[in-house]
């Protein structure tokens, strides 16, 4: 491969009814930061390219430029109003491999263009599937649920990739993925096979990015960029997939309506049933909604059908893979403070943590840390809440 084969960082935007989903600008901002470094270190010619598909979305193109895109490729068509996997996948893959488009993105070095160098998608229920099918079509690698990205030249020796010889992989995207516990990071690389017996290019290096992780950069109306319109073409058979109805669901668990949220985690495990009861009493005393940490939603602890289906569900998860909350008071019960959970609650005004382990990370993200077992602490909290309430009423 030559360096002209794979160029730029393409970012697939998500929008709903003409409004950008927040993760779009988050991805774009991280793309900008990464490309700024890349431009300094390697070449100033490569760009951040935002891909925007939808119906009546042209106007958002400018917003994308103000938030870091050098180029916006926009495909505006009524068939693209909602995401249908097949037509979206085909269209994104077409755009990403189109030489004429590449020539518009950048006038130099586009002759040998094959595919993007890097590609970002959102790790949500739309982007997760779209990234998978697009990368299957583009025949390259995909890392999911990423929360840190670095570009480096890496010297690697790998049995399969390099046939055991040390080789340098330039401009390699290190994709960091927190594991299910939230305490371990796995770095994933997408590498060409340079082993002569299985030689093969694997580009773009792609990932899906966890919503809520990266800070969007400030909008800058002085930024300039290029907008390229792309006329989509559809195969008739792909349009046979029809959207018959769409219902917006108001979530029954409404964290935003409460001044207090009590979140609990794995720490309930010594006496799950009693502890959940205690947490319910505490929450009712404070008129609080109840949330859980991600591991609990995976039903690693089972109490009984009615409690499990009430609490150990995705809708109650607070964190980067769930809801982001910022109540006046957040009480973390038996939550050690994995980075994903912290991302979902650290903007709360006042945070109280109850945990027997003074070294758990939650201590660095709370205002008061009660060192103790929830079994002992919560009853005392409830008692004191009751007595102090009486004092006020009297």
């Amino acid at each position: 491969m030559t360096d002209g084969d794979y160029r730029h960082l393409y970012v697939v935007m998500e929008q709903e009814e003409g409004k950008l989903v927040p993760v779009s600008l988050e991805m774009l901002s991280e793309a900008r930061r990464l490309m700024d470094d890349f431009n300094k270190k390697y070449s100033s010619n490569e760009k951040v390219v935002a891909l925007l598909l939808g119906d009546g979305v042209k106007e958002i193109s400018k917003v994308l430029i103000e938030h870091g895109a050098d180029v916006v490729i926009v495909s505006d068509n009524q068939e693209l109003r909602y995401v249908r996997n097949t037509i979206y996948t085909k269209l994104i893959a077409q755009i990403a491999t189109d030489k004429e488009v590449a020539a518009k993105v950048e006038s130099v070095d586009s002759a040998s263009f094959k595919k993007p160098r890097y590609m970002f998608f959102a790790a949500d229920s739309v982007g997760r599937h779209l990234s998978s099918t697009v990368m299957a079509e583009l025949d390259s690698g995909l890392a999911s649920d990423i929360n840190k990205l670095v570009v480096e030249d890496l010297q690697l020796t790998h049995q399969i990739k390099t046939a055991g010889k040390p080789l340098t992989y330039e401009k390699t995207l290190e994709m960091y993925r927190p594991d299910f516990s939230g305490f371990l990071w796995t770095t994933i690389l997408c590498l060409d096979n340079r082993n002569p017996s299985i030689e093969r290019d694997y580009h773009p290096q792609a990932c899906s990015i966890i919503p809520g992780v990266f800070e969007p950069i400030e909008s800058d109306s002085k930024r300039s960029g290029k907008i390229i319109e792309y006329l989509p073409q559809f195969e008739e058979k792909d349009l046979l997939v029809k959207i018959l109805d769409r219902k917006i669901i108001k979530n029954e668990i409404d964290f935003d309506a409460r001044r207090t949220i009590v979140g609990f985690g794995r720490g309930i495990k010594d006496a799950p049933e009693q502890n959940v009861k205690l947490i319910e009493q505490l929450a009712s005393e404070l008129e609080a909604e109840i949330g859980v940490s991600l591991p609990l939603s995976k039903k690693i602890i089972s109490i009984n059908q009615s409690i499990d289906s009430k609490y150990f569900i995705a809708d109650r998860v607070i964190g980067s893979s769930g809801r982001k909350v910022s109540p006046k008071l957040y009480i973390a019960v038996g939550i050690s403070g994995a980075i994903q959970h912290l991302a979902g609650m650290k903007d709360s005004e006042f945070i109280l943590a109850i945990n027997p382990d003074e070294y758990s990370p939650i201590k660095d993200e709370c205002d008061i840390f009660i060192k103790g077992r929830m079994e002992d602490v919560i009853p005392m909290l409830i008692e004191n809440l009751k007595t102090q309430k009486k004092v006020v009423q009297a």
């Binding site: 989903v21 927040p22 993760v23 909602y82 996997n85 097949t86 949500d124 229920s125 739309v126 599937h129 998978s132 099918t133 990368m135 299957a136 079509e137 690698g141 995909l142 649920d145 890496l154 927190p178 299910f180 516990s181 939230g182 305490f183 371990l184 990071w185 770095t187 690389l189 997408c190 590498l191 919503p211 058979k237 997939v241 029809k242 959207i243 018959l244 769409r246 219902k247 917006i248 669901i249 001044r259 495990k269 995976k298 690693i300 602890i301 089972s302 995705a314 982001k324 006046k328 008071l329 650290k346 006042f350 201590k363 660095d364 709370c366 008061i368 009660i370 103790g372 005392m380 004191n384």
Partner: protein
């Protein structure tokens, strides 16, 4: 009566439930000590297929890629779905594949099963890899319409279409339940919230009949089982296993603790007096007016 040919792809996974899972001192999963089971999302995909059996008298087959002992999860999935055929794709060279290499192998395997398929079910994601990529990538390689996060589906046998409801979560926006119609064949990844319901008396009778049949079959599951290796599948060794995997795991490390966001006051949890003071602080925090 038109027939329906249904396949489920399932996965052998570590049992992550409390008490069964075991971790190494450094926090990584202790695979040797942790029991392996039919993944919970795979089990749900098998129930979705069973719904097709009860409702449409579908023919059901199940496929998995895994080590030789993965035959036990095929038995388990047969017990759930009353499958007619079980396929285990097993070969050393399949090991270590990433999602693209796995999807390629599953595509090759599904082509060896008795097709053509009308619906393929998979779980939402595996509990160990947790990418949720293998389902859609397999669908794409097979040329099937992919429908993800499906919470409900019905088949129109006459018109050869499926109607499915699926949930879309847009962080920072709202959730949507979308109803779609697609011509068969389709690939359905079942949402964790899926619950099959059987409303009519005849469905409940069929349910019981097939459930009994499933138990009988699962007792003798080996007679329904075919085990195929790379050569028997005719898999291209360059496209599967490690060779067919673009991605590698470069390193695993502990996530370093970030800068302390707040300076916590540490309170002794055994002192009622101290806790009384905490409660006063909480009440104060709740009553403060904050102008944003």
């Amino acid at each position: 009566l038109s027939s329906l040919n249904v396949t489920v792809i399932v996965k052998l996974e570590p049992d992550f439930s409390e008490g069964n899972v075991s971790y190494n001192p450094d926090g990584t999963l202790n695979r040797a000590e942790t029991k392996n089971i039919l993944g919970p999302h795979s089990a749900l995909a098998a129930s979705a297929a069973f719904y097709s059996k009860v409702k449409y008298a579908a023919k059901i087959s199940i496929g998995t890629m895994g080590p030789p002992n993965a035959d036990l999860i095929l038995q388990n999935a047969q017990q759930i779905s009353d499958a007619d055929e079980l396929y285990l794709f097993s070969d050393r060279i399949f090991a270590g594949a990433d999602t693209l290499g796995t999807a390629e192998l599953l595509k090759t395997g599904i082509h060896k099963m008795q097709g053509p398929m009308d619906i393929i079910f998979s779980g939402h994601r595996a509990s160990d890899g947790e990418t949720g990529q293998v389902g859609p990538q397999t669908a794409w390689k097979l040329g099937f319409t992919f429908l993800g996060n499906v919470i409900d589906y019905e088949v129109d046998l006459k018109n050869r279409t499926v109607r499915a409801k699926h949930s879309i979560r847009l962080q920072g926006f709202y959730d949507v339940i979308e109803e779609v119609e697609a011509p068969l064949p389709v690939f359905i990844a079942i949402d964790p919230s899926y619950k099959p319901t059987f409303n009519t008396a005849s469905q409940r009778l069929a349910f019981q009949k097939y459930q009994k049949e499933a138990s009988d079959r699962a007792q003798n599951f080996k007679q329904y089982l075919k085990i195929l290796n790379a050569e028997q599948l005719g898999a291209d060794p360059k496209l599967i296993g490690l060779a067919g995997s673009p991605t590698i795991v470069y390193k695993v490390e502990k996530i370093p603790k970030g800068k302390a966001g707040r300076q916590a006051e540490v309170i002794d949890g055994s002192s009622n007096e101290q806790i009384g003071k905490v409660v006063a602080r909480l009440r104060q925090a709740l009553s403060t007016m904050v102008i944003k």
